[in-house]
Structures are given as structure tokens and as C-alpha cells.
């Protein structure tokens, strides 16, 4: 540019010569508005404006939206809740369609009112009808795109309606891309929504503009040609200003609607299993209501006959108008009135009846609550498995997955899982505990563990139901249950201590170690967490522990979450009171190695338990055992059995080399007691070659002296199956049996 701007002028001229932009603008600007500026002429401009705005907003939305069944909902939630102004743009786009449909409807009404549909402008009129149809179709194809509940169910219902028309099945399959809704449905709807329909819409808009150039605007009724000509104004600036004001009013309305509703609604992800009460968008509500008036065989009337007749009427209106002087005009006006009153009336009725329908309102509230939850989770990111996978973010889901990974192999829950360990179904509830006491040796409890046989079964004849209930109540009290029947629990405690002698194996004071697990707080979250960490602790399952130690495999948080999850199972599935059976809670002694199918190992393999400090436990100190015992061990080691065996009971079981009878002890009685109480583990000859294997070899302890044997019988041997017989045998019997054992 230099001097007086000649260069610039030259440049502009050059561009103008090539593109003719100024000429185009001027011819647009200077178009005649026949009969003068009128508000009624603003409609096409407003429709054009809305369409362009929808196109721009839609394009921006397309930079975030992902049209697949996996991602559609999540990407829409991302737009709605995360992207800067995303909710606003989406809201404008959504409400823009509603407003566009209304504006096209008003334009058609205006054309009827001012008889603008008459020749030669029928094509403009038909184009208007087409635009209305495409506007509705844009809504129809756009609403399912978020693939939320409303969108998914809406399109399901619409396609089902379509399916009931002749040839409808083909239409449904084509639109849906198959027999069921999914990725292809979304892509087809999306392609229609962003390419085909907008293309057709633009084409019709071009046709309207072309018609206007061809025929000009219709002069207002009542003006003579001459008057109209006299009143003619140019388009710019008066009509242009009016147009842009109308656009602003409509645009303001769209913005206001968007602000008021905080954008467009986004419900939870499409879930085909849920009973969602689908409602069409408001602009289809009248059809929905119409159908409800005509159910059954009348349905096609509502679906096809009435809408078809209405469209046909609109199409032929310009010709009807010409018939028989004013009659035709009257018919058109009356028809339009019926259509409008019918449509508006049905829409209003639909809105009003839904508002009054409590069930529907409840379902709307439920859907909205579920949407809030889903969208909150969605902010953490959705695992790309489709919208419903958003619930994987539920904290309990992680725990369930941990359970599945680490526990389910051995512990059944919800009908799934192994039976190597006790089932956790209804874990530690009254029913569960009752059933365990009746028979702990079933696969439901410890039947497939090394503890099998360790705890006696307590059938009905040994333990009547009311006693069982009392004991269970006492156990519930130990568990920490706050709602126990104190009197019953007290009765149970007495039974526990005195009659049933449960305390021979199970301690109930915190920290005390016994043969069986200490039951203080058993089944509580803390207790379960301890078991998960390391079940081989002395006051838990000790040497019988078979579970891997998770203390170093899982985080403390995960362990606590798992414990809470297990404890939560309690009371979820009430069980019938289980009939009698034999039960022995036998902890399985297994190395805490996660190795597959770990066979229970012999006790020697495990660390010696810290027993009562005084004496080395004869059974545990392999080194001390005589050759016979060693042989037995070798045998046991060589043949690990698939079924975990309970640990040995430490009962004196003498072997060869009869020794002089102990003084003052009655050997005959001792023998009788031995055969009754000790033989099953230690063998009739004390070699311990019973199913319990090597550990029961008594030869190693007999040299230890009578007092040690007596002590073992009295107190039991912690960490083994050897129970305390202090309360089961009289002092004399203990003396006798110890003496007998010593003699073996």
C-alpha cells in the first residue's frame, strides 16, 4: 500500500473481478421486499440462522463425541461434565433442534395464514413441509447419540413402532444395522444426523432461497400490485435488521433454555436390562399420546393413517385453497386449525398426565439419581467396556475383583468358588455357625482341609437344638454382635465351659492360644483381617493354617476391604437350620505358598509353635524322635495326601517295651480309657500309624517321663490336635491313662 491507497483499490478490484463477492453482497442487499418490510418475512432467515448455528455447534461436538456403543455415553459425559463449556454447547445444540422445529412450524402456519402457499409458491410451501420433516428426523437421530437411558430407550420404542408398519422390519434392520441395537445403530444414526439430513436440509434451504429469487416475496394481501410496488423496499437494512432481531430473539430463547436446564439432560448409560420408562421428546409426545388413545388393532390408525392424512393434507393445501371460491380456503384453515389444536392439545395433555403420574415421576427421579451416580463415576474415566462399565469404579467392585483373584479359588461365595476352604456364603451368621457346629467336616466348612476330623460333629442327640442355639448365641456374643439374647448367651457360655467342653480346644480370652482357633471376636472384621494377613498365628489356626499369608501380598487397605466384604456376607442369605452332622473345625496346615494345588505338608515342615514355654513338644521335635518315628515321618512325607489331614492329637501312645506299671495307677483302667479316648489317633499300640500319620508316634515321648505325659493329657499340646482332657477325664483317669501310655 502506498500513497492514496491505489494499490489497495487495485487489489480489491482484482479480487472482485475474480470472485464477485461485492456484487453478490450487493444483489443480496438490494433485493426487493415487495410490499415493504414485514415481520412475517423473518422466518426463512431465522431457520437459516438456526441451521448454521446447529452445524457449527454440531461440528464442535463431533470433535469430542465418539460414536460407538462402548464410548458414546462416556464421551458425552465427558463433554457434559469435563470439557470447558461442553455442557453449554451441547445444550445449545439440543435446544436448538427443538426451537428449529417450532420455528419451521410457525413459518408453515404463517404461510397458510397469509396464503403464501398459493401458486406460484407451492414449491416453497412443500420445501417448508420437507424442512419440518427433516427437523424432526434430526431430532430423532440426534437424541439416541449419547446412548443414555433416554436415548437408547427412545430409539427402541420408535423403531418398534416403525417395525409394525408394512415393511417396517426392513426399515428397522437397516436403521439399526442388525437385529439389535449397538455400534452399527449408533453409526447409522450418526451418519444420518451429521451428513444425510443436514445435507437434505441445506438443499431445501437452497430451494427456498431460489424460490424467493424466482418469485420474490408475496405481497401482503389486500394491496394492489401498484400499491405493493410503490411500497417495495430493499432488503437492507430495514428487513435485514428485522431478520437479525428475530434471530437474536430466537437465539436468546435457546440460550435461556440452555441456562435454565443446565444444558441437555444426560441420564445414566444405556442399560437394556433396566425398566426405564421411555418418553419421546416433546415434539413427538402428541404422536405418543395419539397412540395411547388407539391401542390394539387401532394402532396403525395412529401410527400411519392419521399422520399420513395430515401430511397429505398439508401437501395438497395449495390446491384445496383454490377450490370453489372461499370454500377451499375455509377447508384449509379449518384443517390447519384441527392439526394445530390437535397437536398442541395432545402435547399439553401428555405433559400434564406425565406430571400427574406418580409412578412415572418416581421412575424419573430414580433415573436421575442413577445418572448422577454414573456421571460422578465417569469422571474417573470409564474402562472401555461400554457405559455400564462405569460401575467398575464402585469401590466394592475392586474388592470383589480381589476376592475373585485371591479367595475364590478356595472359598465359595455367591455359588461360585472352590471348596478347599470354608464357604463364605452367609459367613459367620447364626445359621452358618450352627451348621458348622453340627458338622464342620462337610466340604462347606473344613471337610476338604487338614482340619477334617479335628472337631467332633455335634448331632442332635449330642446337642439338642435349644442347646445349640444357646451356644451359638454365646458365640455371637464373642463375635461382638450387639443384638444378642444375653440370657441365652449365658446359658451357652455355661454349656461351652462345662458340658460341651468347647474350651478344651477353643480359647475365648484375647490372645490365648489353644488347639482350635481362639474364638474371641471370631467372624468380626478385625478377626477376618487377621486371618487374611496370617492365619497361622498361634491364636488362630496355628499349624493347621492352609491359607497363604496375604500380609505381604495385599495392601492393608485391600485386606481390610476384603475383610469387610467377607463379614458383609453375614445374614445375606438366611439358611435353614442344618440337621445334625459331625463337625470339627480343623485348620488346614499348609505352607503359605501360593503354589497351585499345594498339598498339605507335614507338620514338621512348619515352624514349631511357640508353646507353653516349659517343655519342648515331643511331637514337634523331629530330631528327638526315635527311628521308628522317623520312619513314620518319611512315609508320611513321601505320600502327601490330597486331603489335608488334621494334625495329630498328642496322646501318649506307647509302643513296645512294656515297662513296669506306674505305681498307684490302675493300668487296666488306664488301658480302657486309652482305648476309648486315645486309640483313634495314637493307635492301639501307640505307634501312631493311624490316619493322622507320623506325629502321633508316642515312642518319642514315653521316655520323657510320666509327668510330661500327664501334663500333655491335662493341658493338651498347643499347635496340635492334642486336646486338653482336664475337664473330660477325672484326675484318676488321667493318672491311669498316662501310666498306661508310659508303658507302651
Amino acid at each position: 500500500m502506498r500513497g492514496d491507497g491505489k494499490f489497495f483499490d487495485t487489489l480489491v478490484d482484482a479480487v472482485e473481478d475474480r470472485l464477485g463477492l461485492i456484487t453478490t453482497w450487493e444483489s443480496f442487499r438490494d433485493r426487493d421486499v415487495h410490499g415493504g418490510v414485514r415481520l412475517r418475512h423473518v422466518f426463512p432467515a431465522v431457520i437459516m440462522y438456526l441451521f448454521v448455528q446447529q452445524a457449527v455447534l454440531g461440528t464442535v461436538l463431533a470433535t469430542y463425541y465418539s460414536p460407538s456403543a462402548t464410548d458414546a455415553w462416556a464421551s458425552t459425559a465427558y463433554v457434559q461434565d469435563t470439557v470447558t463449556m461442553g455442557w453449554f454447547v451441547r445444550g445449545l445444540h439440543y435446544h436448538g433442534t427443538s426451537v428449529l422445529i417450532v420455528v419451521i412450524g410457525l413459518w408453515l402456519a404463517q404461510m397458510v395464514l397469509h396464503r403464501a402457499y398459493r401458486a406460484p409458491r407451492e414449491v416453497t410451501w412443500w420445501a417448508g413441509i420437507g424442512l419440518l420433516g427433516i427437523g424432526l428426523a434430526l431430532g430423532l437421530t440426534g437424541n439416541p447419540l449419547p446412548w443414555d437411558q433416554a436415548g437408547y430407550w427412545g430409539i427402541q420404542v420408535e423403531l418398534s413402532i416403525a417395525e409394525q408398519t408394512p415393511g417396517g422390519e426392513i426399515i428397522r434392520t437397516l436403521v439399526q444395522g442388525g437385529s439389535e441395537a449397538g455400534n452399527l445403530s449408533i453409526l447409522r444414526l450418526y451418519a444420518l444426523h451429521i451428513f444425510v439430513l443436514p445435507g437434505a436440509f441445506a438443499g431445501l434451504l437452497w430451494l427456498v432461497s431460489r424460490q424467493r429469487s424466482q418469485h420474490g416475496l408475496p405481497a401482503p394481501d389486500g394491496l394492489s400490485d401498484a400499491d405493493a410496488h410503490k411500497a417495495t423496499q430493499r432488503y437492507f437494512p430495514a428487513q435485514a435488521f428485522l431478520d437479525v432481531l428475530a434471530m437474536a430473539a430466537v437465539g436468546g430463547l435457546v440460550v435461556a433454555m440452555t441456562m435454565q436446564s443446565h444444558g441437555a439432560e444426560l441420564l445414566g448409560p444405556a442399560d437394556p436390562t433396566e425398566n426405564f420408562q421411555a418418553r419421546p421428546e416433546w415434539y413427538f409426545l402428541f404422536l405418543y399420546k395419539l397412540r395411547m388413545f388407539m391401542e390394539g388393532p387401532m394402532e396403525p390408525i395412529a401410527t400411519m393413517v392419521i399422520p399420513g392424512a395430515a401430511v397429505t393434507f398439508l401437501v395438497v393445501a395449495p390446491f384445496v385453497d383454490r377450490v370453489a371460491g372461499k370454500v377451499g380456503r375455509f377447508v384449509v384453515l379449518a384443517g390447519m386449525a384441527v392439526l394445530m389444536v390437535g397437536t398442541i392439545g395432545l402435547t399439553a395433555y401428555g405433559i400434564q398426565s406425565d406430571a400427574a403420574d406418580e409412578e412415572f415421576q418416581k421412575s424419573v427421579e430414580a433415573a436421575e439419581a442413577s445418572a448422577l451416580e454414573a456421571r460422578a463415576y465417569a469422571k474417573m474415566g470409564v474402562v472401555p467396556l461400554g457405559g455400564p462399565a462405569v460401575f467398575f469404579n464402585d469401590p466394592e467392585y475392586r474388592t470383589k475383583m480381589l476376592y475373585k483373584e485371591h479367595c475364590q479359588g478356595c472359598h465359595a461365595l455367591g455359588g461360585v468358588g472352590g471348596d478347599e476352604g470354608p464357604s463364605l456364603e452367609d459367613y459367620s451368621s447364626r445359621q452358618w455357625v450352627s451348621a458348622l457346629i453340627r458338622d464342620a467336616n462337610t466340604p462347606r466348612f473344613f471337610g476338604n482341609t487338614k482340619m477334617k476330623g479335628e472337631m467332633d460333629a455335634y448331632p442332635e442327640e449330642d446337642l439338642p437344638a435349644e442347646q445349640l442355639d444357646a451356644v451359638v448365641e454365646y458365640l455371637m456374643q464373642l463375635q461382638g454382635d450387639t443384638e444378642v439374647d444375653a440370657a441365652l448367651a449365658k446359658k451357652g457360655a455355661t454349656l461351652w465351659e462345662d458340658e460341651l467342653e468347647c474350651n478344651a480346644c477353643h480359647e475365648v480370652e484375647p490372645g490365648e492360644e489353644g488347639d482350635g482357633p481362639n474364638l474371641h471376636g471370631h467372624g468380626s472384621q478385625l478377626w477376618v483381617a487377621r486371618v487374611i494377613r496370617d492365619s497361622s498365628q498361634g491364636d488362630l489356626f496355628g499349624d493347621y493354617a492352609a491359607m497363604p499369608k496375604f500380609a505381604d501380598k495385599l495392601s492393608e487397605d485391600d485386606i481390610n476391604a476384603l475383610a469387610a466384604f467377607v463379614v458383609k456376607q453375614r445374614g445375606q442369605a438366611p439358611l435353614e437350620v442344618v440337621p445334625a452332622a459331625a463337625a470339627e473345625p480343623a485348620p488346614v496346615a499348609e505352607d503359605p505358598e501360593p503354589g497351585e494345588g499345594a498339598a498339605p505338608e507335614s507338620e514338621e515342615g512348619e515352624e514349631p509353635n511357640p508353646e507353653e514355654g516349659d517343655a519342648p513338644q515331643p511331637e514337634e521335635t523331629a530330631g528327638e524322635e526315635p527311628a521308628a518315628a522317623a520312619d513314620a515321618e518319611v512315609a508320611a512325607d513321601a505320600a502327601p495326601e490330597p486331603e489335608p489331614e488334621p494334625a495329630p492329637k498328642a496322646k501318649p501312645k506307647p509302643k513296645a517295651k512294656p515297662k513296669p506299671a506306674a505305681p498307684k495307677a490302675d493300668r487296666a483302667n488306664g488301658r480302657a480309657v486309652y482305648m476309648k479316648k486315645c486309640k483313634s489317633c495314637h493307635g492301639a499300640d501307640g505307634k501312631g500309624q493311624t490316619t493322622f500319620g507320623k506325629k502321633l508316634e508316642l515312642a518319642s515321648i514315653t521316655p520323657m517321663g510320666l509327668s510330661k505325659i500327664k501334663k500333655a493329657v491335662m493341658r493338651g499340646v498347643p499347635g496340635t490336635k492334642m486336646k486338653s482332657y482336664k475337664n473330660k477325664l477325672s484326675a484318676q483317669e488321667i493318672d491311669d491313662v498316662s501310666a498306661f501310655a508310659k508303658s507302651l
Partner: protein, 195 residues
Amino acid sequence: MLRAKPRYDGVVGKRMGRGEDNGGAAGGSRRGFLTIGFGAVSVGLAGAALGPALAMVAHPLGNTTTSGSEGFVPVGGESSFGEEPTKVDIFADRVDAWNRVVQVKVGSAWVRAQGDELVAFSTVCPHLGCGIDYVPDQKKFLCACHNSWFSIEGGVETGPSPRGMDALETKVDENLVQIRYQRFKQGIEGKEPIA
């Protein structure tokens, strides 16, 4: 029947030059008002839609849209690394816009013992981001894309790389080596993490 098609009906010239007041003097102020009003409302309308639309398009300029691997990630036992570099892959949960992908490979590193501590180098070349490989024969690292050679200590020796290999934070927790994986700006001398 009215036909209004006189686009160039004498009042309007074939083509008006710029600056011509095509309304004439009469009603000029009204025209001016309408013209300015038309312009102002049009601009406002366009802005109402385009503003939010552009804000939406520009969202990634001011917001993180992908994330993951910010914390330390275990890569193996301490004893599995020696003086000879070992390549480890780093797995982490990643958030990609609306998706959360569980335990995907986010990058890899060369780990070796240097003195009595372990060091980890990102395999991303500081030059243009190719993958750096180790050449055991020469005991050196090489980015073969543009022939950048690095010493076994990670320093740049020859080639276009503006700086040595990017060391990653490591720590050893109960014999478990953990690495905090990061990416750094390429093509500059300083080592600046990409936010």
C-alpha cells in the same frame, strides 16, 4: 399475481463502488442506525455460539486430557539389575479423555547399577523422541534414528541429542525397584518434564 424479481431495477446500479452511500442522503441516520444495529446484533449472535464453541475446541490447551503413571511403578526385584542395562516396561493405569485403561504400557526404561545405586533412563531420546537402544558390544546407548550415542552413564557423546538420556526417579522399597515414569520436552538442553 405479483412477481417481484427486479434485482437491478434502475435504483440500484449494476455495481456500486465502495464507499458509495447507497441510501442517498435522505434517511441516512436511520439507515446508519439499522446498519450498525444489524452489524452489532449479528456479531453478538455469532459470538454467542462461536465463543463457547471455541472455548470447547480450545479445552485441551488449558486442561489435561490424558494422565496416568504419575506415581512410582514397581519394575522388578533389586537383584535382577546389574551393571549391564536391563530394559523394563512400565505399566500403569491411564486416563485417556473419558476412558480409563487399566495397566497398559506407558513407557520403558533402561535400568542399571551405577556405583551402589540403581539408575533408570527413559528410552525416549531427548532429540526427537525415538527409542534408545543399548549396544552391548560397545557398552553404549544408541538412538538409531539420528545416530545419537550415549555413554553407559547416559551422557551424550556424539550426535544431535541436545542432552544426555533422561534419568527417571527411582527408589528401592524392600528390594523392589520402583520407577516414576515421566516424559520430558524434546529438543532442548534442559530437562523439563511435560506437565
